[in-house]
C-alpha cells in the first residue's frame, strides 16, 4: 500500500507552481494562439518534468531520462536549433529585401535592445550570463539557444522560455512603444512600394555571399548563418522543390516537436523558480522594448535628412520575430489609415531583422566566447 502513495510524499509546492506555469503556457498556446508550436510542448513538458521523481528526466541514481537524453543530443550541442534554421531559411522569401536593400539598415538598428540589455543585465549577472540574457532581444529562439549554450549560461531554461514567450507577445509589446514614440501624422506617412525584379542569380548568390561575409566577420556564428542560408539556397535554387518543401514543413515540424518539449527539461522547479528567473523575464522585456525603440528612432533620425519621408513604424519591424512584427506594423498603419498598406516594406525590414539578429548573436559570441 505504501508503494502507492510513497511518490506523492515527494510532491512539493514548487512542483505545483510549475504545473500552473505549464497550464498557463498551454492556455496561451491553445486559447490565445501564441506560438502554439512551441508554447504547447513547453507547457506540457513543464508538467511532465515536475512530477515527483519524473522518469522523463534523469534522476540521481536512476537511468537516464528520455528528455535528458534529447537535451544532450539536440540542445546541449545546438543541433536542434541549427536544423530548425534550415527549415526557417527555406520558409523565408528574401525577395522584398533584395528588391529594396536599403531596408536592411532598419534590421541593424532594431538590434539596439540586445546591446542595451547586455549593459543592463551586466549590473546583475556575470558577463557571459548577461550576454546570454541580452540575446533574448534577438527575438529568435534558435539564436538564443545557441548563444546561451556556447556561453555556458546558468540560466538557459529561463532564457529559452523568455525568448519564445516574448516572440509570441510581440503583438502586445510593440504597439504601445510604437505609439509612444511616433505622432499620428508620422504613423500615417505613406510609402510607395515598387516591386523591382530580382534575378534568379541574385536570389541564389545572396545566401552564399551572406554566409561568406558572416563567416569572415563572426566565425563563431557561421553555423547559425550558414544553416539559415543553406535552407534559403534549397528554396531558391529551383531544382530542389521537394527538399525545400520537406525543410519548410516536415523537418521544421519534427524539430519543433522535440525542441519545445526538450526545452521544458530545463524547467525543473528547483532551477526555474528563482527570483533570477523573474529578473531574466524582466530583462527580456527590456530587450524587446529597446529593440522596437531602436528601429523607430533610427527611422525618425533618417527622416530628418530625407525629402521623401519614411513611416517610422517600419523600423519596429526590424526585430527578428518573423512574421509577427511585420504584421503588427502593417495593422497599425491600417488602423490610422485604412488605405495605407505597409506590409511589403515591413516584411522586408522584418526579414532583414532575421539576418541582423543572427549577426548580432555572432558578434556577441565574438566578444565573449574565449
Amino acid at each position: 500500500m505504501e508503494v502507492l502513495y510513497q511518490n506523492l510524499l515527494q510532491l512539493d509546492w514548487k512542483m505545483i507552481v510549475m504545473w500552473a506555469i505549464g497550464a498557463i503556457l498551454i492556455y496561451l498556446a491553445i486559447k490565445k494562439d501564441m506560438e502554439p508550436t512551441l508554447l504547447l510542448p513547453m507547457g506540457f513538458g513543464a508538467i511532465l518534468v515536475n512530477l515527483p521523481l519524473s522518469g522523463a528526466i534523469t534522476q540521481p541514481g536512476a537511468e537516464e531520462g528520455p528528455l535528458s537524453i534529447l537535451y544532450g543530443a539536440g540542445i546541449a550541442n545546438e543541433l536542434f536549433p541549427l536544423i530548425l534554421f534550415i527549415g526557417i531559411g527555406a520558409m523565408i522569401d528574401f525577395g522584398p529585401l533584395l528588391s529594396n536593400p536599403v531596408l536592411m539598415l532598419f534590421g541593424a538598428a532594431a538590434q539596439f535592445g540586445i546591446f542595451f540589455t547586455l549593459c543592463t543585465a551586466s549590473m546583475f549577472f556575470d558577463i557571459n550570463d548577461a550576454a546570454s540574457i541580452a540575446i533574448i532581444g534577438a527575438a529568435d529562439g534558435p539564436t538564443s539557444i545557441v548563444v546561451g549554450q556556447k556561453l555556458q549560461s546558468n540560466y538557459i531554461g529561463a532564457i529559452m522560455v523568455a525568448a519564445y514567450s516574448y516572440m509570441a507577445l510581440v503583438p502586445i509589446i510593440q504597439p504601445p512603444i510604437i505609439k509612444l514614440l511616433t505622432t499620428k501624422k508620422e504613423r500615417m506617412i505613406r510609402m510607395e512600394y515598387t516591386q523591382k525584379p530580382v534575378s534568379r542569380i541574385t536570389r541564389i548568390l545572396f545566401p552564399i555571399c551572406i554566409t561568406i561575409i558572416a563567416g569572415l566577420i563572426a566565425p563563431a556564428s557561421v553555423a547559425l548563418v550558414g544553416f539559415l542560408m543553406f535552407g534559403n539556397l534549397i528554396r531558391e535554387c529551383g531544382v530542389l522543390e521537394s527538399l525545400s518543401e520537406t525543410a519548410q514543413k516536415t523537418l521544421a515540424n519534427l524539430v519543433t516537436i522535440f525542441l519545445g518539449i526538450t526545452i521544458a527539461s530545463q524547467m525543473q522547479a528547483d532551477k526555474f523558480l528563482r527570483l533570477d528567473t523573474l529578473l531574466i523575464l524582466g530583462l527580456g522585456l527590456v530587450a524587446f522594448i529597446f529593440d522596437t525603440a531602436g528601429g523607430v528612432i533610427f527611422a525618425k533620425i533618417l527622416n530628418i535628412f530625407l525629402k521623401k519621408k519614411i513611416n517610422p513604424m517600419i523600423g519596429a519591424a526590424g526585430i527578428s520575430a518573423f512574421p509577427m512584427s511585420g504584421r503588427v506594423v502593417h495593422k497599425l498603419a491600417l488602423k490610422e489609415d485604412p488605405t495605407n498598406f505597409l506590409l511589403m516594406q515591413a516584411t522586408g525590414v522584418n526579414v532583414s531583422g532575421q539576418i541582423a539578429s543572427v549577426i548580432a548573436g555572432g558578434l556577441i559570441l565574438n566578444f565573449f566566447l574565449h
Binding site: L118, S122, D276
Partner: protein, 56 residues
C-alpha cells in the same frame, strides 16, 4: 522561492557600454557590406533578369 543569486553592480553598466558601441558599429558595418553587395548583385544581374522575364 530561492533568494536572488544575482548581485547589483551599477558601474558594470558603464563599464560595458563599449560593447554597446562596438556591437552596434559592428552590426551596421556588416549589414552595410551586405547591403552594398546586394545592390551590386542587383546591378550586375539587372539585364539578365529582364531577359529572363521577357523569355517567360
Amino acid at each position: 522561492m530561492n533568494m536572488l543569486t544575482a548581485s547589483f553592480e551599477p558601474m558594470h553598466f558603464v563599464d560595458n557600454l563599449r560593447y554597446m558601441g562596438l556591437g552596434m558599429l559592428g552590426i551596421f558595418i556588416v549589414i552595410g557590406v551586405i547591403m552594398l553587395l546586394t545592390l551590386l548583385l542587383n546591378k550586375l544581374t539587372e539585364d539578365r533578369s529582364h531577359d529572363e522575364s521577357e523569355d517567360q
